[in-house]
Structures are given as C-alpha cells and as structure tokens.
Symmetry: C2
Subunit: 202 residues, 2 copies
DNA sequence: ACTACTATCTATACATTGTTCAGATAAAAG
DNA sequence: CTTTTATCTGAACAATGTATAGATAGTAGT
C-alpha cells in the first residue's frame, strides 16, 4: 500500500481523512453555514463527486468533522488535566476548574467548532459512536469529583448533585457566551457561584 | 377589475410580516438548514426578489425570525407565570420552577426554533435590540428570586449567586438535551440538584 | 383630473451549490 | 497478461442566493 503524497495523482491515497481535515479547516475559517463540499474538494485537488465514495452527503461529512472535534476536545482536556499533579484538595480543585476552563476556552477560541458540535448535524442518537466520547468527558468529570470528595474539598452529600450540575453549568455558560447572550467576563464568577453553592471550600 | 384576493394583488400589503411568518412556519417544519428564501417567497405567492426590499439577505430574514422567537418565548413565559398567583413560599417556588420549565418545554417542542435562536444567525452584539429581550427574561428571573427570598424559601446570602447560575443551568440542560447529549428525563433532577445546592427548601 | 414621484414587486440572468450517473483510470487479483 | 475491483473524473441537473433593470400601483402636488 503506497502512500500517495502527490496531489496530481489519480488516486489520492487517503481521501477520507483529507476530506475531514480540509472540511475542518474551512469550517474553522468560515463556519458551518459557508462550508461547501465543492470547495473542500477543490482545496484537495479532487473532483466534487469523489467525496461521495466516503460520505453519503454533505451532512455526513460535517457530522464526521463534528465527532472528530469531540475527540479533539477530550484529548485537549486530558492533556491539560495531566499537567496538574498532586492529590491535595488544592490540586483537585485546580483540576475540577481546569475541566471547565478548557471547555470554555476551546469554545471561545473556535466558536465555529463549538456551534458545529452542538448543531443538528451532530445530533446524537442513544447508542451511537458519539455517546462514548461524551462518556469520556463525563468520566473525567466523575474522577475530578471523586478527588474533590476524597481530599475533603467537597462534602459527600453534595457528590451526587454535582455531576450533572457541573456539566450543565459549564456547557450552559459557554453556550450563552458563544451565542452572544452573556458576557465572557461572567464565566469565572459563574464558576465561583457554582463552587459556592456546592460548598467547595475556597 | 381584478379579483381582490390578497395573493393576486401586485402589492401584497404587509410583505415584511408575511416573510417572517412564513419563514417561521418553514423553519418550524424543516429547520434552519433547509429554509430557502425562494420557497418562502413562493409560499406567499411573490417573486424571490421581493424579499430584498425588506431584508438585505437571507441571513437577515432568519435573524428577524430568531429575534421574534425570543419575544414569543418571553410572552409564553409571562403568560405561564401569571397563572401562578399568591405570595407564599410555595407559589414563589412554583413560579421559579415554571420559568425553567417553560424554557425547557419550548425548546423540546420546537427544537428547530431553539437552534435558530442560539445559532450564529442570531448572534447578539452588545447594544442591539435583542439585548432588551434578554433583559426581559432576566428581569422575570430576578423577580422570581426576590420572591423566593422575601417568602423565606431562599436564603439572603444565596441570592446573588442564584441569578446567573439558574439561567445557566436551565439553558445548559436544555441545550444538551436538544442536541441529544443528555437524556430529557434528567431535566427535572438537574433542577432538583440546583435547588438543593442553592438551599431552596422543599 | 392630470402629472410626477415613490414604493413595491416582477422578470431575467448568473454564479454557486448538492447530487447523480456513466465512464475513465489505476491498483489488485487471478 | 487478463480480469476484476476500488477509486476518481466529467458532464449534467435542479435548486439556491442574489443583482439588475424594468413594470405596476398607490400617493402627493398642482
């Protein structure tokens, strides 16, 4: 299996990946609305019809991009979490905070990505591939909360109330800010409010 | 003399409203992605170019639809709030809950509307018309929280932490559920978690 | 009532888009 | 070397957003 590196070959070599990567690039620049299959093909140097051997339609390509972005986000979060070591309450709180901060900053940095991920293109049905990516993010949150409890930063009785609440607050604040309905400078104070309400010690 | 049927007239009479109303109808049925200016015009019985006398482009029409939906939602919320009378703690809690419930049910019932409202088409810049609609919803929340405090259902010290937190949780849960990343049956328990964390008495 | 004016809408045209399908080309299999 | 399969092209189609020039109707001024 020769890897085709030259663009003017008849067979591209790894067109599926190229399509996703290029669609990602154009989405990043122009947003979902202005992503055109033909421009993706043109950018790669391939005919518009070629894409249809890998994706049934434009929506499927966009969904593929969206799902790959969930992986990217989870990777990024895990890298950032790994930077914070220690089993103290302080470290646990930093990790908990980092989990939300990475989510928020990812969205602020690439709003077009965030919009794609939570658009109708990436609508998740119950037992799809994507649910596992959600699980991955959720498991990270679960671990963070467990650490908060075990280090004494979070009371045991608040533990079960914290999971969905944390996820919801972080996503909600991010969504409202990205869509312009809330000022970015409010993000930190909302997280403060959440930690205060959950009784996470300062 | 031509028959006085509204659609056969050269001048429509109130084309701007008709455009918004029809675009609303088609969006409700097919979603943002599949809304076409030409179909809107055809449905009204007018040429495609006619729309350009009222909206600079398709995006502007969609934005107009989106902003009108914010008004609709606020109207609906205020109607539902008005149904719950009394100045007891019980009534205050019901109104607080109703504020979130209407938001959630509105989105579940018409997900295409919700997606439009928080899409890039309705991106709100700081001093726009739309900010006032946000204010209207936020003022309702403010009043509900004040009532919770004055009836003794919410502690004074939690008051200032409750505003953005409540808004964020309700929107976040709704957004995650509409986009398929969270099961609808979780909504109530998330609200329970929030009320528990804020110390709102059962 | 006649004219000039303005607001409103149509007709036509164009580039771009998603998508289909028959066929070309290259790689793999025999 | 032939056959088969995977991969991509080319041309075509209908639909879309949008620009421009012109048609039509209501309105104001005389």
């Amino acid at each position: 299996m020769p890897v085709a590196r030259v663009r003017d070959q008849y067979h591209h070599g790894d067109l599926e990946s190229a399509l996703i990567a290029t669609a990602r690039k154009l989405t990043k620049r122009n947003g979902i609305e202005h992503l055109s299959l033909r421009k993706v093909a043109q950018e790669i140097g391939v005919s518009p019809s070629a894409a249809y051997h890998y994706f049934p339609d434009r929506d499927a390509l966009m969904a593929a991009v969206g799902f790959s972005l969930f992986e990217e986000l989870a990777d990024y979060q895990e890298r950032e979490l790994a930077k914070i070591t220690g089993i103290t309450a302080k470290a646990a709180k930093e990790r908990y905070r980092a989990l939300g901060k990475t989510y928020f900053e990812w969205a602020i940095k690439e709003p077009h990505f965030f919009n794609l991920m939570f658009s109708e293109h990436c609508l998740v049905d119950s037992n799809s591939e994507q649910k596992r990516e959600d699980n991955r993010a959720f498991i990270n949150l679960t671990k963070c909360l467990d650490e908060l409890v075990s280090t004494g930063a979070l009371e045991e009785r608040m533990r079960r109330h914290s999971e969905l609440l944390s996820w919801t607050v972080v996503h909600g604040a991010t969504s409202l800010i990205v869509s312009g309905h809330l000022d970015p400078e409010n993000y930190e104070s909302i997280l403060d409010d959440l930690e205060f309400a959950l009784g996470i010690r300062k």
